[in-house]
């Protein structure tokens, strides 16, 4: 570690204006940039087709960037793979192992292919597969296969770990165990870039995250930053005979926006306690029951859904309009 230059300590992963265009002309990644510091856990979120895996593949050195600049540990991961691969560990969204090999045989094969391999048994223990060494891969459950994949990514004791949807297919317990593992790795200085569908996972694990949409980064920041940009929400059903106008003036409650759908009212506010108190005090005074009352503070999920919704409303516009909108979305 003593030989690493100062620059690396700042940004282990650097992406500048990355584009990735596939053979058929489809542009999966449309000019994104971010940095990940040493020991940081960075999460890439996005709906299916947002460009997460296309981005990660470039970082892993599996595909070249169409344009832009990507550096992992100070090197181009594609052109200088020899300098990067011994220091990275990769878990693909969908990777495979020969079904007729046992867990131990698979780990032994992989250990023979990485620099500075740790003992296989130790790594299998680490992911909770210690007792499954003699089992053939074809007999493993989907979750166990994901954990075997994770074990192989950890075999070379990597400085940078790429995890593409690491907990998909795991049960709740397996997912939490993986989270614990990632936290422990971060504590020892491992840099982790992960993609995930689970917002809870990003909220729990990530120091910083980026939400991608249509090949661009729509929002980036710490989970708290991204969440803070979102309003809190209150929703309820208006009792029969009441109208929106019967409520106290919404602006006076600190409500910044509202929608009415049938009898269901949705309010957005940045002052949740004030708005909720005002609403409930009114209901108490008017002796009405607010059906389906739901009061929730802003969450990453809200931010995510907000971006996904924007995606739907943008649907009819041309690509140029998309570009303009998503640039301002952050």
């Amino acid at each position: 570690m003593a030989t690493h230059d100062i620059h690396e300590h700042e940004h282990v992963i650097e992406v500048t204006d990355l584009h990735r265009v596939y053979g058929g002309g489809f542009e999966a990644v449309r000019g994104i940039g971010f940095q990940v510091g040493r020991g940081e856990v960075f999460a890439l979120l996005g709906t299916n087709g947002a460009g997460k895996t296309s981005t990660v593949e470039v970082l892993e050195g599996l595909a070249p960037a169409s344009s832009g600049r990507v550096r992992v540990l100070g090197h181009d991961p594609y052109a200088e793979r020899g300098a990067v691969r011994p220091r990275t560990g990769v878990m693909l969204q969908e990777g495979g192992f020969p079904s007729e090999l046992t867990v131990t045989e698979t780990a032994r094969m992989w250990a023979g292919c990485v620099s500075g391999a740790r003992p296989e048994a130790e790594v299998l223990d680490q992911v909770g597969l210690g007792g499954r060494g003699a089992v053939r891969v074809k007999q493993l459950s989907g979750g166990e296969r994901r954990r075997l994949d994770l074990a192989l990514a950890l075999l070379g004791d990597p400085e940078v770990l790429f995890l593409d949807e690491p907990t998909t297919g795991l049960d709740a317990e397996g997912r939490r165990a993986t989270w614990e593992l990632v936290r422990a790795l971060r504590a020892t200085g491992t840099t982790v870039l992960l993609t995930t569908h689970y917002l809870e996972e990003a909220e729990n694990l990530a120091d910083r995250l980026a939400i991608m949409r249509e090949g661009r980064i729509a929002v980036t920041g710490t989970p708290a930053d991204v969440t803070a940009a979102q309003p809190s929400r209150i929703s309820f059903r208006l009792p029969d005979g009441y109208h929106l106008g019967d409520l106290p003036p919404l602006a006076a409650l600190g409500v910044t926006g509202h929608e009415v759908e049938g009898r269901t009212v949705r309010l957005r506010t940045r002052e949740l306690q004030r708005a909720a108190t005002g609403l409930l005090t009114w209901a108490e005074g008017a002796r009405v029951e607010l059906g389906g009352l739901d009061v929730r503070s802003a969450s990453l999920e809200e931010a995510f859904l907000g971006i996904a919704q924007q995606h739907r409303t943008d649907g009819g516009l041309g690509p140029a309009a998309h570009g303009a909108k998503s640039e301002t979305a952050a």
Binding site: L101, E105, M109, G112, S115, R118, G131, G156, L181
Partner: protein
Amino acid sequence: MSDVMDTGAGRTARASAGPAARSTPGRRLRALARAELTLLARNRTAVFTALLVPLVLPFSVRPALDQLDLKGQGLNVGTVLLTAAIGFAFLFAVYTSLVSAFVSRREELVLKRLRTGEIGDPEILLGTALPSLCVGLAQCVIVAVGCGLLLDTGAPKAPLLAVAGVLLGLVLSAALAAVTAGITKTVESAQVTALPLMFVSMLGSGMAVPLETLPDRLADVCRFLPLSPAVRLVQGGWTGQLTGGQVLGTLAIALAWTAVAVFAVQRRFRWEPRH
């Protein structure tokens, strides 16, 4: 099943991964070849095809050989059977076995996973091919010794040519298997996509039918088929009947096919399933 992951213990300091533990091509090839050998041994059909067919098939055509005028061509039954058995080792121990292996590793996403690591593409192909190449080589040796003892073929008159023929045949069979895997969608369809080369080679490359017994013009054309040069070198190695010019010409054809196959693999080999 132990469910709880061990989150911290056992983690080694990275500094301990000194130069001695650095991954080398030799170490990687050994690791991959060992896993492939285990897989080969667990696949009964592959073992049967690779081990028995090259030994049994040539002898089943022996009655047909007795009908042919071999003496007039300077051949004898022993050399023809020996050549056939070595040719079948190329096809069954190496070619068909590797088409299945490459396709099955690709469809199981093993190749894709391997490519994320330090191991390079040529190493992945070579490591996967090594066990079959060794089985093929062992077959050639067994057949040569067996025919020498049982059919009086004796030692090859031009041993270098025989060795060159065996090595070229093995390498080319493996390369052609990778090319065929590139146009094969599933492990099942490998049994179909491998057929053309197998038929053409058996009939036209001097395996089941010695080229000397074919009409001259047809034989001249057949000498340009992919596995013909290797078979011709093997046969010439035992009979000692190839002239210097014939040897050079044959080597040139073999090397040309090898170059074509390597180029095709570089351009056309598929590393992941098509969606």
